[in-house]
């Protein structure tokens, strides 16, 4: 205990300590940042088969965090269903990550919303490890990746999303 007190008597050490604490809390809170390479995700699809994000390299990818119980997510699905066929033909893919706890609810929503893009799921809701790793605080949350797997934009919707995808497809 005395040793600790001695350290704090030293002003430089105290400053260093606080800088270190500040740095740690900054790192802990950080979401994957725009301009950085997307971390790998590997989860199971509806059939229980592993589906990794890295297997989509070479395509423009929209990572979409959602759940069947999220009204705004379901609304955005309608928009994605409308633009998906045209963009998929050009090399675009959607990697949807559902935070549903019940597989049946997830499957039901996929059917009801007529979703044909890639779907993976990890049980646990907000506490699912993928949600923790990406620091998801609300859904829908989306990340748009370029062909090299770099994060280009977050939470784009509607016309803005479509325009950006077209732009990235041409690169």
């Amino acid at each position: 205990m005395n040793a600790v007190a001695d350290i704090f008597k030293n002003k430089t050490m105290t400053q260093l300590f606080f800088i270190l604490v500040l740095f740690i809390s900054f790192v802990v809170n950080a979401q994957p940042a725009i301009g950085t390479q997307s971390p790998e995700i590997n989860l199971k699809d509806v059939n229980g088969t592993d589906l990794s994000l890295s297997s989509l390299k070479g395509k423009v990818v929209l990572i979409d965090f959602w759940a069947s119980w999220c009204g705004p997510c379901r609304k955005e699905n309608r928009h994605l269903v409308a633009i998906y066929p045209r963009l998929k033909a050009k090399g675009f893919e959607i990697y949807s990550i559902s935070l549903d706890d019940e597989k049946a609810d997830w499957k039901k929503a996929i059917g009801a919303d007529k979703i044909t893009w890639l779907q993976v799921n990890e049980r646990g809701g907000w506490d699912a490890s993928v949600a923790n790793a990406w620091k998801i605080n609300q859904i829908p949350t989306t990340y748009l990746l370029n062909k090299e797997g770099k994060i280009i934009a977050r939470d784009l919707q509607g016309r803005d999303l479509e325009r950006k995808i077209d732009e990235l497809l041409k690169q």
Binding site: A67, S68, W69, C70, G71, P72, C73, D101, D105, G125, W126, I136, N137, Q138, I139, P140
Partner: protein
Amino acid sequence: MKTKYIVLVIIMTVALGSVEAQFTKANLQASGLTCAMCSKAIDNALKQLSFIEAVKPDIKNSAFNIVFKEKAVVDIDALKNAVEDAGFFVAKLKITGSFSNTEVKNDQHINFAGSEFHFINVSDQVLNGEKEITVVDKNFLTATAFKKYSTATTMPCVKTGKAGSCCEKAGVAAGTRIYHVTI
């Protein structure tokens, strides 16, 4: 010997059959400017309460299904405060209790699971087993819904949520928190 055996069986049956008076689960609907379930904030705030075991989204009612820890005393106001601290409001709160011969009379107070309850708009009845009650206090439902319930009793406690001096003869100290509920 035979009589002793029968008495023992009766005692055992009564002991096993008696249910501890407690709340087991709740269904909570929150409202706000944005989708309440789509934010981690309420989930986080609720899970920090010591008497909560689990919080799950309820798709059908756009609500939260809450499971309470076994034998834990449920603080109903703390549920509301957690939702409000997260930046939302309670739009509806239904709580399930395991009752055992609990007599309920319209516009009268009872003590259950450590809290005082005032039943409004109910028919006189005896509650047994799992029963759901809805909290109708101010800030536990929409303003219009509260207005409807607040006119259902002449007792002053409905406006404040606290016992008036009128309750003292029934053994409830003035100022005690009284939850207004219906079935």
